[in-house]
Symmetry: C2
Subunit: 311 residues, 2 copies
């Protein structure tokens, strides 16, 4: 890995994505007692940063691979991202989704032309269904987080954030499957001037925290968290990057996630999904560590089921 | 009135307000079949355009008037705006609010140091309470919409929108008391190149539409609309401006307002209040008239009671 590769990745996907806004809020700075820079990936195409990784991965396929299409499994946003990326390249997208995924996300996948297979909400069931599609259709599997092209694509949000604000002390992301966190950490290492990468994670799905403690990839027996994008675990490609480049993971309670989500809705007037509120919850929980520092937060997505809000 | 006055008004309040973003949405353009430019006053200080008018009016007071403070009556946003404008100038603010105003707005007024008097939800009761405060405290009354300084202040949102996009065919605002509409129409006339000003109004509170038809200021017997900021009627200062400079008012049904609100929440990932969705509802309702035109919309505010949403 080097700087030039990361610059090239950004250049490759730039025509296909939005360069999202960075917003600030004096009211939230006052509460968090530091200076926050929110990279608004909720304004990204299809409403989440996953568009970046899906697009970069799809662009790496050969012409022959493109004809057969791509397949992924996802609790929601990667499903939409792969569908939209495939649609824009004119290739088929096969999407394995857990049957309990929010309806708004299923509808969006269909809207982007994705072909859905619904399965039980376990990682094993999802992977089995995806493997079957690979065998049957010859489609190329894109893992939602444990794929180097996906990791590189997700990292471009941090690349843009650091291009606009090169003096950040920290960048904080949520951690679920680990793709965004690993990609962010690489960009913070190469383009931040002493910028540390940290993550927020729900106590109720704290596999990444435990993985850093134990040195092996831990899983969640249960993952009863409102942050539905963060229920998955790390993979063998992103875990070593996270071990090497991530400073720490801060765990937060469910009520802290909901409070942070409400704070962003009420004070910033923007819609973010619960997973996306986890970094702010983490910063507020440990605010003594960040006092007067400049902290970038990747607001990862805004695809919320408005009929099912926690307030 | 002339261009120089409007430029001077903007220069006067510029240090006290945010220059808000202009956002676009390809998805909503496709639905509305025109090119929309959303001026995001939901991102304005205290969450609404009213900060502009309140600030400009407060800045016109003499030192002697400032000591005695300012008073207004408002269903919500002007209450917050006058409170915050007063707080930033270090002067007292007395706010008359209808007792059924959303709790989030009452809390915000208190947070900005405003002193609240609650009254029944009629225009007469509000005005009587405000008059009493003027007599008792010697405070200066700022009408939320029928005041030339307020009108000039509100118009600066359109001034900024036209500075960024000088080729708009239309600017559309909601119409309640008429301050925003009158101020917008003046700026569209002087700075738009053939730009017409139009407004959206609920059928259930269509006093402004009827006033333009009859040529006299009409009132609403009832005003049972979700667009709680639009229940008031025009005044003798803004009505002549609206008669002279406004092209037309389009009325919309309640379900059209809720659908437009949901569309903006889901597609743009931003929080707007119901009153604020009325212009988009109007454009979509009469979309044949706006086909392929460039239409600016003033998104007036984002102060919503999250515990009481229409979806």
């Amino acid at each position: 890995m080097n700087k030039e590769i990361l610059i090239e990745v950004h250049k490759t996907i730039e025509p296909y994505i939005h360069k999202t806004l960075v917003l600030t809020s004096q009211a939230i700075n006052a509460i968090a007692e530091c200076e926050l820079f929110f990279k608004c990936e909720n304004f990204q195409k299809m409403g989440a940063f996953k568009m970046r990784g899906a697009t970069y991965a799809a662009l790496q396929l050969s012409d022959e691979q493109r004809i057969k299409g791509i397949v992924t499994h996802s609790s929601g946003n990667m499903a939409q991202a792969v569908s939209l990326a495939a649609q824009s390249l004119g290739i088929p997208a096969y999407i394995v989704m857990p049957e309990n995924a929010p309806q708004v996300k299923k509808d969006a996948v269909k809207g982007y032309g994705g072909i859905i297979t619904e399965v039980r909400s376990t990682i094993e069931a999802r992977q089995a269904a995806a493997d079957e599609i690979v065998t049957d259709k010859g489609a190329h599997f894109i893992h939602p987080s444990n794929d180097m092209d996906v990791i590189l694509g997700q990292g471009t949000a941090a690349y843009e954030l650091l291009s606009d604000h090169n003096n950040l002390d920290y960048i904080c992301t949520p951690v679920g499957g680990g793709g965004l966190l690993a990609g962010t950490a690489l960009n913070a290492f190469y383009f931040g001037e002493g910028c540390k990468t940290i993550a927020g994670e729900p106590f109720n799905a704290d596999d990444a925290y435990r993985s850093l403690e134990s040195g092996v990839i831990e899983k969640n027996d249960t993952a009863d968290t409102i942050a539905d994008g963060l229920r998955t675990h790390l993979g063998d490609i992103n875990f070593p990057i996270i071990q090497q480049y991530v400073d720490k993971i801060i765990r937060v309670e469910e009520d802290e996630i909901i409070n942070a989500m409400r704070l962003i809705w009420e004070r910033m007037k923007i819609i973010i999904e619960p997973s996306c509120a986890v970094p702010l919850a983490a910063i507020i929980r440990e605010k003594a560590s960040f006092k007067n520092q400049k902290v970038g937060i990747i607001l990862s997505g805004g695809n919320v089921d408005l009929g099912n809000l926690p307030f």
